[in-house]
């Protein structure tokens, strides 16, 4: 599980808006209420914005407004500063990658032909297409030599979705729209695909708008989350952290539910906390009881540096080894994982290692609570998120 950086994330928001919906509304024929009513939303270059909300709130409709698979009845749509409300929709869509839950690979074409279709319609020559196909297969973690000539039905669901992402990236569009891309795969594959998307995004830095109804997925993937209520009204447009700590109204508070405090543990790594100091004691060594260390905890380690157990002040490190019942976490693990390790060890403190495996401190239950569980989760009334959604 990859934790998102803290709320004061750099870069994101620095660039100009890549996508801007300006007072956009749309109606479905035969329905009196608009599916999307006067929505204004900006997505900055290079960020992942998650459209989150209950089913029927219009999040997919909002997504499909961006590439005009649904036409707005009023309002304007801007892509990279250019008004595309009246642009040729087919040409517009070739500048926007599109990934859907059911993938929709073309079953009669090979994987290479699926990925190369848009480059081909754009008139690339064969050599360039083939190079691009191989590059993209590599990028999404599929061996080109193995998969190039296969047909979609020969691939698993997870592999098909990887090809779906590769196909969307084929013509190197600056924007990707993803409609519940990981909704149809099993939970383990979903988790892996999410991690892969984040890794991929580190490399390609696309502007991504992703629809989901899964709060955990939104918190994990989103640089910002647009939480939509019925009629695609923007209930709150904010970072995951602030959605959890400062829900704009009762609707948001209800949507994130009672688990918000625990969920926030997913957002931070152990390394972001101030750790208690520890004193490592090598097994078998005779330590003089240095009184100046006061109440500093002592950890017994073996010759290779492996953490064995805590030492009580009266314990003698020369005596035999105890069972391995100490919680150990690395700084790049989330606080959620740290809490899990502490609870499983029936303890109140975890030993913390840096990424090289060196002991650097201790994380206590009380520090966890003090730091992250304390602030209350009450709605921030009466201020609402600004509709244009630029919280920072």
């Amino acid at each position: 599980m990859t934790a998102r950086p803290d709320t004061t994330s750099p870069n994101i928001g620095a660039g100009p808006a890549m996508i801007r919906l300006d007072h956009v509304s749309t109606h479905y024929p035969g329905q009196r209420r608009p599916a999307v009513a006067d929505l204004t939303l900006e997505v900055d270059t290079g960020e992942i914005v998650v459209l989150l909300g209950p089913s029927g709130c219009g999040k997919t409709t909002t997504l499909r407004l961006i590439n005009r698979m649904i036409e707005p009845s009023s309002g304007r749509i801007f892509l990279n500063g250019e008004d595309v409300t009246k642009a040729n929709p087919d040409q517009l869509r070739r500048r926007i990658g599109y990934v859907i839950q059911q993938v929709g690979l073309f079953p009669h074409m090979t994987i290479a032909d699926n990925i190369g279709l848009i480059p081909r319609t754009l008139g690339w020559d064969n050599k360039r297409i083939q190079a691009r196909v191989d590059e993209l297969l590599d990028l999404v973690g599929l061996e080109p030599a193995t998969y190039r000539r296969r047909h979609p039905k020969q691939l698993s669901g997870g592999q098909q979705q990887r090809v779906g992402v590769a196909r969307a990236l084929a013509a190197d569009p600056p924007v990707m729209l993803m409609d519940e891309p990981f909704g149809a795969v099993d939970p383990i594959t979903r988790e892996r695909l999410q991690d892969e998307l984040l890794n991929l995004q580190d490399k390609i830095r696309k502007t991504i708008v992703l629809v989901t109804h899964d709060l955990a997925e939104a918190l994990k993937l989103g640089d910002r989350i647009a939480l939509l209520a019925e009629g695609a009204t923007l209930a709150q447009y904010d970072t995951p952290e602030r959605i959890l700590t400062e829900p704009a109204d009762a609707f948001v508070a209800e949507f994130i539910g009672s688990g918000a405090a625990v969920r926030r543990l997913h957002l931070h790594t152990v390394g972001s906390l101030v750790l208690d100091p520890v004193h490592a004691v090598r097994a078998g060594s005779h330590t003089t009881h240095d009184r100046s260390e006061g109440s500093v905890r002592r950890v017994l380690i073996d010759d290779t540096g492996t953490v064995l157990r805590w030492l009580r002040p009266t314990d003698d490190p020369t005596r035999g080894r105890a069972a391995n019942d100490i919680a150990v976490v690395r700084t790049d693990q989330t606080m959620y994982e740290a809490l899990d390790a502490i609870l499983r060890a029936h303890d109140d403190t975890a030993a913390v290692l840096d990424k090289h495996g060196n002991l650097i401190g201790a994380l206590s239950w009380s520090a966890l609570v003090r730091e992250r569980l304390a602030p209350d989760n009450a709605p921030r009334t009466p201020t609402r998120a600004t509709p244009s959604g630029h919280p920072r």
Partner: protein
């Protein structure tokens, strides 16, 4: 004259009739394919109109072929014209119906993806929808062909070309010299021709369908 001697003597004429018969059928099915597939592609956008047209063409199938051939005489006279016309009328229905069914059976996710990635409507039809509907469309053409082989035999009633001539001639002179041989040869040749064309379609389907959808 025994059947084998008859066949040995008349083989050239019989061969010509078989070729004529196949020609008439393939020309008619070719025309019906253009009309049926074209109509299907257009009507796919308008499901209600599509249902109405399918019903109308379906009803035409219930017209007895002998009657239809007869009805066409005042309009088109005798010979090739009424034969082809009647066959086209019958062949349109299976082709049109299967074109509609085939296009409808293309998964919504596939057409959605094709639209979302920016393929024009022509490219979507040519590159995605038609290739995926093709096995079903081809089955329609195959059914139309087999059906037409049988119906074309009746075309001899309006002096149409083909194996019907043997059958009608034989039946008219039953009891006469070679009458039974003629009727029997004509009937069997029609059956064998149908079988042969059917086989041709199996091969054609195999060759023109992607490995990914077999």
């Amino acid at each position: 004259m025994s059947l084998p001697t008859y066949l040995a003597q008349r083989w050239p004429q019989i061969g010509v009739l078989i070729i004529q018969h196949a020609e008439v059928v393939l020309i008619a099915v070719g025309i019906a394919t253009v009309i049926g597939v074209g109509l299907g592609v257009v009507l796919q956008e308008y499901p209600r109109a599509g249902r109405i047209v399918v019903n109308i063409t379906g009803t035409m199938l219930t017209i007895p072929s002998l009657a239809l051939f007869g009805l066409l005489i005042p309009l088109l006279g005798l010979g090739l014209a009424p034969t082809i016309t009647a066959l086209v009328v019958y062949a349109i229905f299976p082709i049109l119906r299967n074109t509609l069914t085939g296009l409808e059976s293309v998964p919504a996710a596939v057409t959605d993806a094709a639209l979302g990635m920016g393929l024009t409507s022509g490219a979507r039809l040519r590159l995605i929808r038609m290739p995926l509907a093709w096995p079903v469309v081809l089955t329609g053409i195959r059914i139309a062909t087999i059906m037409s082989v049988a119906i074309a035999a009746i075309a001899a009633a309006v002096s149409g070309p083909g194996l019907g001539q043997l059958i009608f001639d034989g039946l008219a002179r039953i009891g006469g010299a070679n009458a039974l041989n003629e009727a029997l040869t004509g009937t069997c040749a029609v059956a064998f021709l149908a079988l042969g064309l059917d086989l041709l379609f199996v091969v054609l389907a195999r060759l023109t369908t992607s490995r990914g959808v077999r």
